[in-house]
Symmetry: C2
Subunit: 286 residues, 2 copies
């Protein structure tokens, strides 16, 4: 959809000012979705100047201040779309730049450390509310050029509030998230998020990369059907991001790998013993 046409059609922005910090795949898609579904004023920031220029000329964002302080100072809701490590660093560095009473939320794939850090910032003088969040969507592609206002359609969004968060912030974020195309918003504890994400995302990504990497030879391609294609779709992933995610979630990932290894072993034993009932029990979903 042409964002400039949309923008022109809508006229003057109303409601809150939304800042998107980091216009990669996630940030770019969020900006486009906010543009498509709301009339909010959108401010964008990215370290790559050409990305800011594209986002501005394509009508995805309304404003691209040169200085990050200016961006943060006038934004009611800030989405930090950065790598996990960068998120905490960014907040530390720009703590004094956020607008009074604003809501700052991040989209990093791991929540425990970040939310623990946020909880220490509660009761700050300016009433800035830091809320952890994670849009459950990803791709083997990255960058603004691959972003889309359709990227989150049907995806779920998880918020990981801490005790110090204002109920009104959670309500406001939830309303916005639902408006821009997500199918559901769920609140859970950061620790629970990290434990479960190891199962639903980290494990499938590890498996996909191992399957892809260890493919015996080119001849095998004629034997590749849907099951292999599906199982390896995410295998060629953003290595910098994934190495960081897995390392940060070390203990949960190790636990899930150990339990998966046990299952794999049990299948081997059933096969060795030619025990049809055991095998059937292990691979039966019902």
């Amino acid at each position: 959809m042409n964002m400039n046409a949309l923008k022109a059609q809508r006229g003057k922005p109303i409601g809150v000012s939304v800042a998107i910090i980091g216009l990669g795949l996630i940030g770019g898609s969020l900006a486009k979705a906010v543009r498509t579904h709301t009339n909010h004023h959108i401010i964008g920031f990215d370290l790559q100047k050409d990305v800011m220029t594209s986002a501005l000329s394509e009508g995805v964002i309304d404003e691209a201040p040169e200085r990050i302080e200016e961006t943060l100072g006038k934004s009611d809701i800030v989405f930090l779309c950065l790598y996990p490590f960068e998120t905490v660093e960014f907040v530390k560095q720009h703590y004094n730049d956020f607008k009074e009473g604003s809501i700052v939320t991040d989209t990093a794939g791991l929540k425990s450390e970040i939310v623990q850090f946020y909880s220490k910032l509660t009761h700050n003088a300016k009433g800035i509310d830091f809320v952890g969040g994670h849009p459950i969507a990803g791709s083997e592609k990255s960058g603004f050029s691959n972003s889309s206002d359709q990227f989150f359609v049907g995806a779920s969004y998880v918020l990981t509030p801490h005790r110090g968060n204002r109920a009104s912030s959670i309500e406001q974020l939830t309303a916005l998230i639902q408006k821009i195309g997500f199918s559901s918003v769920t609140c859970m504890e950061a620790g629970v998020h990290d434990e479960m994400i190891a199962y639903t995302s980290h494990l499938p990504h590890i498996i996909a990369s191992l399957l892809l990497k260890n493919k015996p030879n080119a001849e095998v391609n004629s034997l590749v059907g849907g099951s292999f294609r599906d199982a390896t779709r995410v295998g060629n992933m953003n290595l910098a991001l994934w190495t960081e995610l897995l390392m940060c979630n070390q203990f949960n990932v190790i636990k899930i790998l150990e339990s998966f290894e046990t299952e794999i072993k049990a299948v081997q034993v059933a096969l060795k013993n030619q025990n049809v009932d055991d095998l059937s029990g292990l691979i039966s979903f019902k």
Copy 2:
């Protein structure tokens, strides 16, 4: 596409008579694809009378003889679309019923035992040529009602000939297979097929079922994204067929599971040692 309309439009069948034995997902889809792409006479057989009636009334097959002997006796090319165990049994039982000079091929997912059996039938008095084959396509759904003439579009087909097969049979089968929508036909040794299919199909199926089966709880659903959905698509599989396939390919599957387990272990070690380079090397596709 309406098969009856297609049939009427084409007029009298020409060329060879093709028999499809077993009108399940694979047999039904083959029959529909042969109908859509050729003007061959199609004879169908299934132990379930209602399936035969449907296939006949829908125009998918031209003929549904009551007796299997009659079906086999007048078919130039016979596709056996049965479970692996049934395939050998079927050929043993109906060895004398096939037409002189006909080509008999099967679609079972494992080839070594079947092709070894076929090779002993070479130089039979009636010149029947038994050729192993495997359409590389499957689904978590089964049965004639889920079959489609589009099911094989873009899929590859592997033939596993033995020394006694006639070159002309391979050529004739290859031509037919290419005509009905498969993207490629590859010939390989039965043993190589079984070793490699353990990697490209059996391993992803085992993984998918284990992932699906061991999902911690319902709460986890809000954390399910594309990677988990893709990795588990085939997890809810036809259990009777799959238990048989895995058991029959026991040694290859055990070998592949062992090697996969080693990889999983290496990832754990890299995580435990916080060795970023090792982890990156293990999950990097490039």
